[in-house]
């Protein structure tokens, strides 16, 4: 048990001490207890926030840990969303088949990421170019899906419906003893929460292991990493596929949650959102990304009630301010300050009197 916990700690993440893990346990318990005493509608709404965090964690892994800035998170989100729709509608999926459709949709998006990533990474396109190509791909996909209005645009019995988006796919269902559980409201919240915890812990384990050390080495100096004998391209491609698949998980869950997906999720301004969450939170740390994304989604939702345009202006401003004044990110900066404070307190305690 301790051994397992130790492999989650390391130099690549903030929060390795007893204080952090106690806090983590406390927050997890609160998250688990939260649905009791709250309206199932609110719980479903909270699940909606959690759904987006996968895409943010994937971007943090790519951008913060490996130094690949992808603007394409929403493209893979959309591919998985439409993929889930097409597969589940055509299979007329119920019960466990919906999960199969979900996994297949994520698989389709991952394959797409692998193809796109192969051409860019093995063409040694980096930095700025990587951003532009992923960006152009995202916008082109959105434009393409936007014009699929006629009945000729369909795969099997699943119609794309152009700008209005695709609807009518089933919710996810978890096969359970006897009766399958429909993942809506509270059950969906628990499913997403456990997936998120597993993803977060899994990524912590990954970045603090040997693989993560190589990623950080590539971020710091790709040439040096290569001269040390690592095939940089293989690692970059792997991370790109993994990070994009996490966006696909978000997309699949989102589509199943709302039984709806539109091309606008891939277009502007939507494509900028994962970048803003991760930049604001602090791309260099998974915990900061998790916390910051949740906070931003919550406040964005609260603001959108008044005016979506003003909320988006504020998001743009937030990105600008972050880049100009807090390049490492707000939550990460705050976390580092907390850590320094904590260390100082410890040092004074240990000092012999």
């Amino acid at each position: 048990m301790l051994e397992a916990l130790r492999s989650l700690n390391g130099p690549q993440t903030l929060g390795n001490g007893r204080v952090f893990w106690s806090g983590f346990a406390l927050v997890s318990l609160i998250a688990i207890a939260y649905p009791f005493g709250f309206d199932p509608y609110d719980v479903g709404n909270t699940a909606y926030f959690l759904i987006w965090i996968f895409a943010a964690l994937g971007l943090s892994l790519m951008w913060g840990y490996t130094g690949i800035l992808s603007f394409g998170q929403m493209a893979f989100f959309g591919v998985a969303g439409y993929g889930y729709g097409v597969i589940s509608i055509n299979l007329a999926a119920t019960g466990g088949m919906t999960l199969v459709a979900f996994v297949a949709a994520v698989g389709v998006a991952a394959a797409f990421a692998a193809v796109l990533g192969y051409f860019m990474i093995y063409g040694r396109v980096g930095g700025v170019y990587f951003g532009i190509v992923t960006f152009a791909t995202t916008l082109a996909l959105a434009a393409f899906m936007g014009q699929t209005a006629g009945p000729e645009w369909a795969i099997g019995s699943a119609r794309f419906n152009g700008f209005n988006g695709m609807g009518g796919m089933p919710s996810l269902e978890l096969p359970w003893f006897g009766e399958p559980v429909l993942l809506e409201g509270t059950p969906l919240y628990y499913a997403v929460l456990f997936m998120l915890l597993a993803t977060y812990l899994g990524l912590r384990w990954l970045v603090n292991g040997r693989f993560g050390n190589v990623l950080v080495a590539i971020r710091e100096d790709p040439l040096r990493a290569e001269l040390l004998g690592y095939d940089v391209r293989k690692y970059q491609l792997g991370v790109f596929v993994l990070g994009s698949s996490l966006a696909a998980v978000s997309g699949g869950l989102y589509t199943a949650w709302g039984q709806f997906i539109t091309p606008a999720t891939m277009g502007l301004p939507s494509a900028a959102m994962p970048i803003i969450w991760v930049a604001f939170s602090g791309r260099g740390d998974l915990t900061a990304t998790l916390v910051g994304t949740f906070v931003l989604l919550l406040s964005f939702q609260a603001l959108t009630v008044y005016s979506q345009q003003y909320a988006l202006i504020l998001m743009g401003l937030l990105l600008l301010v972050t880049v100009l004044f807090v390049p490492a990110g707000f939550i990460l900066g705050f976390g580092r300050r907390l850590k320094r404070l904590h260390d100082r307190v410890l040092n004074t305690e240990r000092r012999p009197s």
Binding site: L69, L116, F119, M120, Y122, G123, R124, V125, G127, V128, Y129, G131, I132, V133, F135, A136, T137, L139, A140, A143, F144, Q147, G267, L268, P269, A272, I275, I276, A279, S307, Q309, Y310, L312, I313, M315, G316, L317, L318, L319, L320, V323, L324, P327
Partner: protein, 288 residues
């Protein structure tokens, strides 16, 4: 037979002009400073709105178009002096900053201008070749694209500003040591890039319906042209626009606009696998 041929050439010229005009401003800023201006679409939009408002207030179209380009250029210089110059050592962050600006401007326009605005019609006038008729304004656009490229050539290869700009591009430290005021060169180049974006908008303003998010119409084309062209405007953008223009024209004819756009994008992804530094990088390496 001649009419068919002319029709194909005309369509190619139309796509070519669009690619050149949409990409020129972006390519200059990218070539000079290595940053991608994500607010490119908003500069184009600025050119469009100033032109339309000018015409609706009684200015002749060419004057209004000049105003559109100049306004965009001025805003570009101001933006460079206030925000962009802080980020030259962090190219990725400068992309994010311009993206933030782009979001603020688009949504701000939606708030202040509403979601649509009455347009101005395309200048009428057409000519016939065989059984087909063609819009004269499309020829004007093609001529404008050619003039823009010649203008860029003269500006960067034949003027003292061009010499300073190329020196700064090649080696900023050395240029500064020799007395070039590099911040001014950067500001001016950013201004030129923004003004060209504004000009693109101004030229296409009469052909479009006005919505605040219309910048999107241009940016995919602009971005892929710059990716294929690489960092040198003169060596890269023109050949890239020719290649992409051919691909796009044939795909458009075959299956419509959107297939043309997607096909172009696929072509780009294939091209960067072979020529990661774009056409201009490849040409430069061959010349060496």
């Amino acid at each position: 037979m001649f009419a068919e041929l002319f029709s194909i050439v005309f369509q190619f010229a139309d796509v070519f002009a669009f690619l050149i005009l949409a990409a020129a401003g972006l390519a200059i800023i990218f070539g000079m400073m290595g940053i991608i201006n994500m607010a490119h679409g908003e500069f184009i939009m600025c050119g469009i709105y100033v032109t339309v408002i000018g015409v609706q207030n009684g200015l002749p179209l060419p004057v209004a178009q000049a105003c559109g380009a100049l306004t965009a250029g001025l805003i570009g210089v101001i933006l460079e002096r206030t925000i962009i110059y802080r980020l030259y050592d962090r190219p990725l962050d400068s992309i994010l900053a311009t993206w933030g600006i782009s979001l603020i401007v688009t949504q701000g326009m939606l708030v202040t201008m509403g979601s649509s605005w009455p347009g101005i019609g395309t200048p009428t006038g057409s000519f016939a070749v065989g059984v087909y008729t063609f819009s004269t304004y499309r020829l004007v656009l093609f001529a404008a694209a050619v003039v823009v490229m010649i203008g860029i050539y003269i500006l960067f290869m034949r003027t003292s500003f061009g010499t300073l700009a190329r020196a700064t591009m090649q080696n900023p430290q050395m240029a500064r040591a020799l007395g070039v005021r590099t911040p001014r060169v950067y500001a001016a180049s950013f201004g030129v890039g923004a003004a060209l974006a504004g000009l693109c908008g101004a030229l296409y303003a009469p052909t479009m319906t006005l919505i605040p998010t219309m910048g999107i119409t241009f940016i995919v084309e602009a971005f892929v042209t710059v990716v294929v062209g690489g960092s040198n405007v003169l060596l890269g953008t023109v050949p890239a626009a020719v290649v992409l223009g051919v691909i796009r024209t044939s795909l458009n004819a075959w299956h419509g606009q959107i297939v043309g756009q997607i096909g172009m994008l696929i072509a780009v992804i294939l091209v960067i696998r072979v020529l990661p530094e774009g056409v201009s990088g490849w040409l430069a390496r061959r010349a060496r």
